[in-house]
Amino acid sequence: MARASRTPPGQGVDLEIHAPTVERILTGFIAGESRRVGLGRVVVGLSGGLDSAVAASLAARALGSRAVTAVLMPWRGSSPASVKHALLVAGRLGIHHERIDITPMVEPWVERYPEAGRVRHGNRMARERMSILFDRSAEHRALVLGTSNKTELLLGYGTIFGDMASAINPIGDLYKTQLRQLAAHLGIPSSIIRKPPSADLWEGQTDEAEVGAPYDVIDRILHLLFDEWLREDEVAAAGFDPALVARLRRRVSETQFKRRPPLIAKLSMRTVGADFRYPRDWGT
């Protein structure tokens, strides 16, 4: 588009955050929500990527490094850089880490279902990791710290009951581009901030190739659609590809089920999920 080439699309869309303030709120959130249930400890799956590095770093600042356990869960196909970066983060934060190779758990399933494509394989691994994290959380008497960001949550770019599962998620209201700002403030190594985001489920996979646009474009479109309540044509008029805007919007609506607990058929006067309304922090 001619106009887009003169001015960057969505110029003036402000996703800048004040990182020290965000850090204060999120460390307060982690400390408050984990201590109120009487634990004050967390376990976090450390992938070597940016999101889990930020979550782990916030937790170490909130609770102290001794209260954080990082779990590295590579499989035989994981990129060697992922493990290297995860170890780098754990080392810098001075947090205890456990390394559990998930290949022996996942391989029998691969043999049983050789026809499963890479998406099913990815989901199976994400759920294996979830299963390990919740087990480790029980042993360490700790909460599972979520590492899904707002971009992923809105696009449904994650595995339901897999990497999307957690007890508390400090970063779920920050877009990927905002997480990069926070990561820089927290001193996450630039090699981790700069590398292309990837779920690392198969070789060469990157988020941006899968979703079909760079994060700085995706985030600004999502921000305009959902934080600013703009209609699709208004977002397109801000300089974004109308087809991309429509595709992202559809993707958000089609993945709504991933962001909500399961539906329950209503029968009684008071039904869980409908009119049995208590705070999650009830009794804490």
Binding site: H18, R24, F29, P279
Partner: protein, 281 residues
């Protein structure tokens, strides 16, 4: 006259623990010379109660915790927030002044925010009055959170000769920006400055802190002078007990310099309002 802004973090649904905190802070405030200590909205119960509203509600005259607050007010007056069980099984988001061991004034929140992240209209009954009361430190009015966002509420109190407006709230962080404070915090200070200066009264704003269900309550409690200057503040996010001073000379000077209240044409406003309401514009 000294008053205390008790920027505290109530525990959700735990009225026993919260009552203990109230008593501690009242004692501390009194020791520092305060004649009045102000707690935030729903300070006795926590904010995101939802269906717990029914578990924590108490009738204002007879409730056990209400009586405990009254008896804690013998040497230092107290304004606190709680869920009031009304005579017809209503549940009001309420605030009361307790003084000299007794209930002195009750305000039931009129404007219940039910939009965006808020859902109060589902769980609470709405109050229907804005009244002031006489106190040793001057004529006082109480508003709860969203009440303050409706400018007519403070105006109606000002017309009753209000010297001190007490606003209590449970206002969460909302709207991240590149600036140090989120946009949600600046609004409260802007509002306080304008109302204090234009109604020439003190505004004591007390907001809570702490976390409930992922919401960060932002604090930012302050005392604003009738000249529109914030003279004491409790800061963002942390628990803090701030002792602030109200100097009667400041109120006097403000009213001499800008006699807005003296010149207010309430009768004209009343006639116009009757016309607007009667004719549908």
């Amino acid at each position: 006259m000294k008053l205390a802004l008790a920027q505290m973090a109530p525990r959700l649904g735990d009225t026993t623990a919260n009552l203990r905190t109230h008593r501690d802070l009242i004692r501390k405030a009194r020791r520092q010379g305060a004649s009045l200590v102000i707690f935030p909205e729903l300070s006795l119960t926590g904010y995101r109660l939802q269906d717990l509203v029914r578990d924590v509600a108490e009738p204002v005259g007879r409730g056990k915790r209400m009586r405990a607050l009254a008896s804690a007010s013998k040497e230092c007056a107290v304004i606190a927030g709680f869920v009031e069980e009304g005579p017809g099984q209503e549940a009001f988001n309420a605030a009361a002044l307790f003084r000299a061991g007794k209930l002195g004034h009750l305000h039931r929140k009129v404007y219940l925010p039910t939009y965006g992240m808020f859902d109060e209209g589902r769980f609470f009954d709405a109050g229907s009055t804005f009244r002031t009361f006489e106190a040793p430190w001057g004529r006082t009015g109480i508003l709860i959170c969203e009440d303050f966002w409706h400018l007519s509420a403070a105006w109606l109190l000002a017309l009753q000769g209000m010297d001190l407006l007490v606003v209590i709230s449970a206002s969460p962080v909302k709207g991240m920006k590149a600036t140090r404070n989120p946009s949600s915090l600046a609004i409260w200070e802007d509002l306080g400055r304008v109302v204090a200066r234009h109604h020439t009264c003190w505004v004591a704003y007390v907001n809570r802190v702490g976390f409930e269900d992922g919401w960060a309550f932002q604090g930012g409690s302050y005392l604003c002078s009738p000249e529109g200057r914030v003279t004491a503040s409790a800061g963002f996010l942390d628990e803090k007990l701030v002792i602030a001073t109200m100097d009667p000379a400041v109120l006097r000077r403000a009213r001499i310099r800008s006699p807005i209240l003296r010149d207010e044409k309430a009768d004209l406003a009343g006639r116009e309002l009757a016309r607007i309401l009667g004719s549908g514009r």
